[in-house]
Symmetry: C2
Subunit: 309 residues, 2 copies
């Protein structure tokens, strides 16, 4: 379906519920609330259904009005798979009327679908849709969509960033979004506990294979009381060190397993490395699961890394 056809579907219906994925991020929340505000502006009833709203994203709901209605049309945004609906899965699985997403792997079963894998963020699609719907892109909508496109691209730093992404961000700043505040909240604020965790990780970092491999780990004790939000992105720490070809992150899980993720810059095959431990993935990012002790797991990883690099 085209953006115009999706817009026509949205004009023709009413009483919308907009679903986001579990562990919601800036893209699904920003896209979801932007669509909600846009639909309300068109005189429709709409609400966003999410598993949680992290405190720092509170500003996204400023222009959202609470409305009392029975849902008649279900939209999923940025949800690649119905399994990712989390606690909302049982209530909504198989009931989605329209799926809007930017994951090429999307497998949501819905009569109306708009999946554009070239979009860096679902927010790019919602921006095009809002324009097609003739919606006035208010400051509130602009804040939501800037949040969506900036967070899914690491503030325009990741390789998924395209000229279109940058031009949409330019338009949103002109439309009045508070990019300074949004960037500060999402890219320049760390909790004290997160800083402590980073310190502990750096203290315990292990270099091997002539410094071509760096290994970090987190134990249950180290991440106790930290939200998923606060532990996000730690896997990028070892990979960013100059000369490191493969960065490995080992996470102790409550069931006693160790989840391993390997990241490379593509010149070393992370997938091949993880296959040696029964795992898999892509050339640049792969994972596996180890059992036993932390020390023993790390020893096995060091040995395999030294053989491979």
């Amino acid at each position: 379906m085209t953006i115009k056809e999706i817009a026509d579907v949205l004009k023709a219906h009413d009483n919308y519920e907009i679903l986001t994925h579990n562990y919601p991020d800036g893209d699904c929340l920003g896209s979801g609330f932007a669509l909600c505000i846009a639909l309300q502006q068109l005189g429709k009833n709409a609400r966003v259904i999410t598993t949680e709203l992290p405190q720092r994203f509170g500003y996204l709901t400023r222009e959202v009005r609470e409305q009392d209605f029975d849902a008649q049309f279900i939209i999923s945004v940025d949800v690649a798979d119905e399994k990712l609906l989390g606690i909302n899965r049982s209530a909504y699985e198989g009931r989605i009327d329209l799926c809007i997403d930017h994951h090429g792997s999307n497998c949501v079963n819905a009569p109306a679908r708009y999946v554009e894998a070239e979009a860096a963020a679902a927010g790019e699609i919602i921006f095009a849709l809002a324009k097609e719907l003739g919606v006035n892109i208010t400051k509130g909508i602009a804040d939501c969509l800037y949040t969506a496109v900036s967070t899914d691209t690491g503030c325009f730093r990741y390789v998924n960033t395209t000229p279109r992404t940058l031009r949409i961000a330019a338009d949103l700043i002109e439309l009045g979004c508070d990019s300074a505040y949004i960037n500060k909240v999402n890219f320049e604020t760390k909790s004290k506990r997160r800083v402590q965790l980073e310190r502990e990780i750096l203290e315990n970092m292990i270099f091997c294979a002539d410094d071509k491999c760096a290994i970090i780990y987190t134990t249950l004790e180290m991440v106790e009381g930290l939200s998923d939000d606060e532990t996000e992105g730690i896997a990028s720490i070892p990979r960013e060190i100059e000369g490191v070809k493969m960065g490995i992150t080992v996470r102790e899980k409550p069931n006693g397993e160790y989840k391993v993720s390997a990241r490379t810059n593509g010149d070393v095959d992370a997938c091949e490395f993880c296959k040696g431990f029964g795992g898999g993935g892509h050339i640049g990012a792969a994972g596996c699961t180890l059992h036993g002790t932390l020390e023993g797991s790390i020893e096995r990883l060091i040995k395999a890394a030294e053989e491979m690099l």
Copy 2:
């Protein structure tokens, strides 16, 4: 003068030397080499004069041809003050024919000047100039200009980023610049020594005034052998912690002094704080110099912070 008038000046002359500032960054180097390639493309002789070329910026010179000529026209790019020419100051002070800059405080004395304080980077001005000159913006020029605009905006994260900045970056990606490589080199690569320094800084971080103030310090021993490049940006570490109103960085200097920089988010007056120690600056960023021991200096800072916050 207008961009068109500057372009006319450049068309009318030949044998250019392009000056950059000391401790050269991505903006002055990217802008300088882009202008150099553009002038060479117009059939002119041109070279860039810099105090050093950090290794990670080596890619900027790929399309630059070495030319043998006697300089006849001197251009400064991104140089706010002739004092900042470093080791090249004695040879070039008072000889600059054209000054191109984006610092509102620019005080370079030159017969032709183009200073645009609204530009996030000098690279924005060079982009406009290259278009005015009718230059073919090759991959090499695009790589230089993308480096300029991305590094001076923290990859489009800082408040100086404007819609124009983002649109220029979009154009440069379409023109073939390798934004993935440039972002990786400039925003995702830390030396092992830098990582060790961050670890030591975090280990020794001091919180005071009910965690509203965080103090970090570096001793000469901690930064021994590190380049300026590798110690850049550490002052942002304490300020980024959630709840911290004022982040203070104390740097031991070879002369035995302690250079203090205070950063706030504007709700606390960093200038007032530093004035108490004979320093000054702006409401959000200020500095002062302390003497005596490190411990004594930090004690005085803690006391003043607790009184103020």
